[in-house]
């Protein structure tokens, strides 16, 4: 047996529209495969054929057939999680440098990367081991209910293994715990097992246990995280941190593994039957009224088709035998881990049961589509059929699964048949394949019949004969293989003849008898073929999975989680077990329709015992007494419905129905009593899954999720987060929406008693802070009534004092214009300003350097008796007064002025202070130019330049970068810098000093120098506002306001909170410096300066041009009328001609002139050198 293992035919390999196959196909190119994998290959005995390369060798035929398959166009999607479909036990002698990851069926793997050759680097969640694994052994695991949990784990991994420093803090904040918690919550919510009291939990013991284990895993993780918090808050040793992080990761793995198992069990116990019940409900009209009851004779024909084929097609047999045996080996191999085997199957088929309706929505009518879906369904059914028969003990299940297997075969054949009909030339090829498949199907049917025959007449449950079982499995396996061939051929044909449109969905089933009819002459109906007979009933198409899976439940669970409830079902030879009820409802239909099955008698013997079920489902009972097909069908439908409805309404079904299990569950629940609080604690309602994290930071989220974060109770909210909210929420929500979201939070936290108190207090505090310091009368007044109402009706009930206070506050807000409490927004910057120089309040302010002479001059100027210039004052004092002036405006900049490029608004801009800053800066620059350009003598101009450089230096000393920028800017203006004669007189010392200042305000490299200086600057300081404005503009336009968050329904757009955080961070950076200088104002000097600035401004828009003209007048360049200076004239002439020609001397002059000028303007530029050369 063992030696046959390598020949295990891959069930899945033929499933050609799977991503995994694509990987296989890629890997066919052996050159792609790193050498180290060859060793694996060279051990065909040890390595199953499914390894990427092995596939080539062992499944060449299928591979070839699949290659032309037209649907393989889409590229493989990267899946974060895979689930092992087959066990993978690499040979021991694989090169030591290659770490391969042994897999067991059902294992979940977190994938890090996938090599093009089909091997993936993954971590096995069961063990935490990492290594290479063959992706074609696996399939993507992406169950809807598990998605948030899986995503949480991915995030978890990324943060822990991504190893960013901030993660320490995040763990401390317990933020990261919210992901797994929300994930588990989501899982339980979706599976209706959120509370311990929920019906499903009470009813299904297996479910309850796994749920409990899951929660205890979760609680363990949370505990570890708390411990980590303690450790991280201290001064942890690195390895200690590492150890705990590892532990947390493993625990998170465990949670996911458990979650997966939970979902498996759930799917077995509840999900499928329910889905099917729903689907049946939807299809009710069709199945009940639209489909005419098919005469039995017709359906008999169908079944016999394969019989005939069987005889004519013995050729294929020998080939199949091999693989058949090996499949069996595989199946037996899996017995040690039955749960994963069967759950695997279940999960596959579960997906299929969903795909039914969804693909119907799509272009179901395309032949290729139909082919794919029916084949998927077929594989799913057959897979579970094979799995079941290895373990099954209940004949009911066998009957029903066999029936469904055959039906799904037929559905597939049907499509193939249609394709055949459309095919002009190649009919033979496809026909052969189809016939082969028919043959296998008939084998299967025969095998099934034989299995049941010996059991007929016995009162006990049918005993499953191992030999018969093997034969059955073999037959099924053959069927699968034949179907694979058939599918590949059909696709080939389709590719050649082009896709065809098939009749609407229902046709598939309706055609069934028709086709069979046309192909085969009627065979005699046989009493000995119960399965076949049941097959003949045209079921509503979606019934297929229904009856297939519900019976699977008891058997599988039984094998894995023996419980009193389950064992009760199985030990009593009663088929009317709760979970198989729908089947029993259907089954009798078929049985009675033929009315004389040997099996039937057995069944009916046991039927009376199912009286109990009467309380539960009348459908069953009526089924027993009814004899017409139609009524049966309807009844069975009814039973399905009633079953669902009872489950929803009366919680005591399982109790009345099944005493023992109730008892046991009661005893369990007392045990679990102590865990109740923990459970409620863990499962608090949360929208945390609607948040996007990156490196521990909230990047985005829905409003309610962000509000939840804002009012989280486990951790003190991050100051920046709160500030960001207050500052920017109006950009993503109206004030009313904000208020409503807060109250919603206030309400739903009530479900989580232990957290309700603190959270509600937080909600109140958020309201309070808003009203007190962040209320914007221009925007927020709409929400005031709502807030008042909330305070008076809700808040006052839960927190009386708070409610009253909030109401009072709201009243004040409506009365006062302006913040009730002086705005402390800047505290978000200022809290960090503890580093600010501490100056004792009593420290005397620096004495202004205004002597008698200066005072006198100012007085004279005031009366108009004297003209004064900057040269009359000390540079330091001028710098101080400038600084005072600017600082006053700077400190009054409100954060909202900086939002949404408010300052750019052409009209009605609220950003008055930002505007004032830019105006002042521009005015100052113009004043500098003006003071230089209106001096006739170069010497005086040079002196003024020198004075401005000194002032600029003093500004630097005062950390007034804004004024510094303006002054340097101005000295750099071309109208100033071109004044060669002036600069000639300026001392080298001044030039050097200017050069130094210039490097500080250098705009290149994104103001690198300036930014560096401001980074850890201690206030008081006046930063250049322009950099903030640029940054804010870029953040605003470079980041979209929404992000997409993948969800179960696809994706949802959530607020790009990161953008707002970035904005807030920049604003807070600016606010950090909003601290007034301790300087003495000299009002007279201020007045003079203001007067000068206004004078310059009055020149208006044309200032620059005026200055330039003035500059030309002072030191002309063009063919000058005033040309007294020869040199200047020459220079001007040269300059007048943009493309200097042969006047060598002029060029020389010109070049020299340019060089002198440029040499200090661009000391480092190659260009200036070039000009010179």
């Amino acid at each position: 047996m063992e030696s046959m293992k390598p020949n295990i035919p891959p069930l899945k390999i033929a499933k050609s529209n799977s991503n995994l196959i694509e990987l296989n196909t890629i890997s066919d190119d052996s050159k792609l495969v790193p050498g180290r994998f060859y060793s694996t290959l060279s051990q065909p005995e040890m390595t199953p054929p499914m390894t990427p390369l092995g596939t080539t060798a062992h499944n060449m035929e299928q591979e070839q057939q699949e290659q032309p398959e037209p649907q393989e166009a889409p590229r493989a999607v990267f899946h974060n999680y895979l689930r092992a479909f087959y066990p993978f036990h690499p040979a021991g002698n694989v090169s030591p440098s290659t770490v391969t990851l042994p897999l067991e069926q059902g294992d979940i793997i977190l994938v890090h990367s996938v090599h093009t050759n089909g091997w993936a680097d993954g971590t096995l969640l069961d063990s935490g081991n990492r290594g290479w694994l063959p992706t074609n052994y696996c399939e993507a695991y992406d169950q809807l209910q598990m998605r948030p949990l899986l995503k949480a784990l991915t995030d978890f991994w990324d943060i822990i293994r991504g190893g960013c420093g901030s993660s320490l803090k995040d763990f401390g904040n317990q933020d990261l715990m919210r992901g797994p918690i929300a994930g588990v919550r989501f899982l339980l919510e979706k599976s209706e097992c959120l509370t311990r009291e929920s019906l499903l939990v009470r009813k299904y013991d297996g479910l309850r246990r796994i749920r409990k284990a899951l929660l205890s895993d979760l609680s363990s993780l949370v505990k570890t995280a708390k411990r980590f918090q303690d450790v991280a808050n201290g001064t942890p040793a690195e390895d200690e941190v590492e150890a705990i992080l590892d532990e947390m990761l493993l625990k998170a793995f465990k949670i996911v593994t458990r979650g997966v198992r939970f979902l498996d069990v759930w799917n077995e116990e509840v999900g499928l039957t329910r889905t099917i019940a729903e689907l049946e409900g939807a299809n009710d009209s069709h199945s009940q009224y639209d489909l005419p009851p098919t005469p039995a004779s017709e359906s008999f024909n169908i079944v016999d088709v394969p019989d005939d084929r069987n005889e004519s097609r013995l050729l294929n047999r020998s080939r199949m035998d091999q693989s058949r045996a090996s499949i069996r080996t595989e199946m037996l191999d899996h017995n040690p881990r039955p749960i994963s085997v069967s759950t695997k199957r279940i999960s596959v088929s579960h997906r299929i049961s969903y795909s039914g309706p969804s693909s119907a929505v799509r272009s179901q009518n395309l032949a290729s589509e139909r082919l794919g879906t029916s084949y998927d369904a077929f594989l799913g059914v057959l897979g579970s059929f094979i799995g079941l028969h290895m373990q099954s003990r209940s004949s009911t299940e066998l009957v029903v699964t066999t029936q469904q297997a055959v039906e799904s075969c037929r559905a597939l054949l049907n499509v193939v048949e249609t394709v055949c009909e459309h095919d002009g030339q190649r009919t033979m090829l496809l026909e052969e394949a189809r016939e082969a498949m028919c043959e296998k199907l008939s084998d299967l049917v025969h095998a099934a019949r034989d299995v049941f025959r010996p059991a007929s007449g016995q009162e006990d449950d049918l005993i499953f004969m191992p030999d018969e079982g093997k034969r059955l499995v073999d037959a099924a396996t053959d069927c699968v293989r034949a179907a694979g061939t058939c599918l590949a051929k059909a696709r080939l044909v389709l590719e050649q003849i082009g896709d065809i449109e098939l009749d609407p969905v229902e046709t598939g089933t309706q055609e069934l008898p028709g086709i069979a009819d046309s192909q085969e002459p009627a065979d005699t109906p046989s009493e000995e073929k119960p399965q076949e007979i049941s097959l003949r009933l045209p079921p509503p198409p979606l019934q297929i999975p229904n009856s297939t899976y519900s019976p699977a439940t008891p058997a599988l669970t039984d094998a894995t989680t023996p419980s009193s409830f389950q064992s009760h079902l199985n030990s009593s030879t009663n088929h009317s077990a709760l979970s198989s009820l729908p089947n029993s409802a259907i089954l009798p239909t078929h049985l009675e329709n033929m009315s004389f099955s040997s099996y039937d008698s057995g069944y009916r013997e046991s039927h009376p015992k199912s009286d109990v079920s009467e309380t539960f489902s009348r459908g069953v009972t009526s089924t027993g007494s009814s004899f017409t097909y139609n009524s049966h069908l309807r009844d069975s439908e009814m039973s399905g419905v009633s079953r669902t409805s009872t489950r929803a309404t009366s919680p005591d079904i399982s109790g009345s129905f099944n005493q023992p299990s109730l008892k046991e569950s009661v005893s369990y629940s007392t045990l679990a009593e102590e865990n109740e609080e923990t459970e409620a604690h863990l499962l608090e309602k949360t929208y945390a899954h609607e948040l996007i994290y990156k490196e521990g930071q909230v990047m985005g989220g829905s409003l309610r999720a962000l509000i939840e974060k804002l009012t989280a109770h486990q951790s003190t909210p991050d100051a920046l987060f709160v500030s960001t909210f207050y500052l920017t929420f109006r950009l993503f929500a109206t004030p009313l929406e904000f208020a409503e979201a807060l109250t919603e939070r206030f309400e739903y936290i009530g479900d989580t008693p232990h957290a309700a108190g603190p959270v509600r207090l937080r909600v109140y505090n958020i309201f309070k802070g808003w009203l007190e310091s962040h209320w914007r009368h221009d925007r927020d007044n709409d929400a005031l009534d709502f807030v008042v109402n909330f305070a008076n009706t809700r808040l006052v009930v839960e927190l009386p004092t708070a409610g009253k206070r909030l109401a009072d506050l709201a009243e004040k807000v409506s009365a006062v214009h302006g913040p009730v409490v002086p705005r402390l927004v800047s505290s978000m910057g200022k809290t960090n300003t503890a580093i600010a120089q501490y100056i004792h309040p009593d420290t005397p302010l620096p004495v202004p350097i205004i002597g008698k002479k200066e005072s006198h001059l100012l007085k004279q100027w005031k009366t108009g008796d004297a003209a004064i210039t900057i040269l009359d004052f000390d540079p330091l004092e001028l710098a101080r007064q400038l600084t005072i002036k600017e600082s006053r405006i700077f400190c009054s900049i409100l954060p909202e002025e900086l939002l949404d490029t408010e300052w750019m608004r052409k009209s009605g801009s609220l950003a008055v202070n930002v505007r004032a800053m830019s105006t002042l800066s521009t005015d100052l620059a113009h004043l500098v130019a003006d003071s230089i350009l209106y001096l006739e003598e170069p010497k005086k101009r040079a002196a003024t330049i020198k004075h401005w450089v000194k002032i600029a230096n003093k500004c630097l000393e005062l950390n007034n970068y804004d004024s510094l920028m303006a002054i340097i800017c101005s000295l750099n203006l071309s109208m100033i810098s071109r004044l060669k004669r002036t600069w000639d007189i300026v001392s080298q010392k001044t030039k050097t000093s200017l050069e130094h200042l210039r490097t500080i305000v250098d705009v290149s490299r994104n103001y690198a120098e300036l930014r560096k200086r401001l980074q850890n600057h201690v206030p008081p300081c006046l930063p250049f506002v322009g950099t903030y404005l640029t940054d804010l503009t870029f953040v605003d336009h470079g980041n979209q306001s929404l992000r997409t968050l993948p969800t179960d329904e696809g994706e949802m757009a959530v607020i790009n909170f990161d953008k707002h955080m970035k904005t807030a961070r920049i604003i807070s950076e600016l606010q950090r410096f909003q601290i007034p200088y301790r300087l003495t104002e000299v009002p007279e000097l201020q007045t003079w300066m203001q007067n000068e600035l206004v004078r310059v401004r009055s020149n208006g828009e044309t200032t620059a041009q005026t200055f330039y003209r003035r500059s030309l007048v002072l030191e002309p360049r063009e063919g000058s009328r005033s040309g007294t200076n020869l040199q200047a004239q020459a220079a001007a002439q040269a300059a007048a001609q943009p493309q200097p020609e042969s006047n060598t001397s002029t060029i020389l002059e010109n070049a020299k002139d340019k060089f002198d000028f440029l040499s200090w303007t661009y000391p480092s530029k190659p260009k200036s050198v070039a000009t010179h050369g």
């Binding site: 521009t922 620059a925 071309s974 705009v1003 404005l1029 870029f1034 070039a1170």
Partner: protein
Amino acid sequence: MRPQREYHIVVLGAGGVGKSCLTEAYDFTAQFVQNVWIESYDPTIEDSYRKQIEVDGRQCILEILDTAGTEQFTAMRELYMKQGQGFLLVFSITSASSLNELSELREQIIRIKDDEKVPLVIVGNKSDLEDDRAVPRARAFGLSQSWGNAPYYETSARRRANVNEVFVDLCRQIIRKDLEGSGSSSDSNRKREGPGRDRKRDNRTQRRRGPCVIL
């Protein structure tokens, strides 16, 4: 191999038309810098405005200076312009006034650079908003002609249409200028650059190289 050159590109656009056209200019600058639609753009990083590109087999580093947000600091404009070796003059095809303001910017550039042939590209942005077009193409081409056939591109920052082309064109102009200045003695360079591409430009190159050769 020549050492990598570093070129400064200045993005200028009409102020005072609200954020409309400039907004777009920022966007596409940002986009160009990152070359992908950045999910999370951080402008405070020094490197966020630097980009290495290859133009005609030549590696160079572009440093992009965008005046975004500081248009009101008019005195600052010259400072930016002095930095630049090449200029993107951006207007919005939906705003006629934004086009008008370019002339003043160009005059200022020429004044500062003391060069009529300073590398520049006229960019009519928001080409995706064809319905709101306020500047006929002919007008923009007219401006381009009056500026000595300065290249004119219509871009859509939003759709990332033509954005890269604009930068490559400008970069090419700068490189050519760079070569004719510093590489005047290097014949190999001239030959490599030589015939086959832009004849008109080549002529100009020849003409302008003249005096240097004499030197």
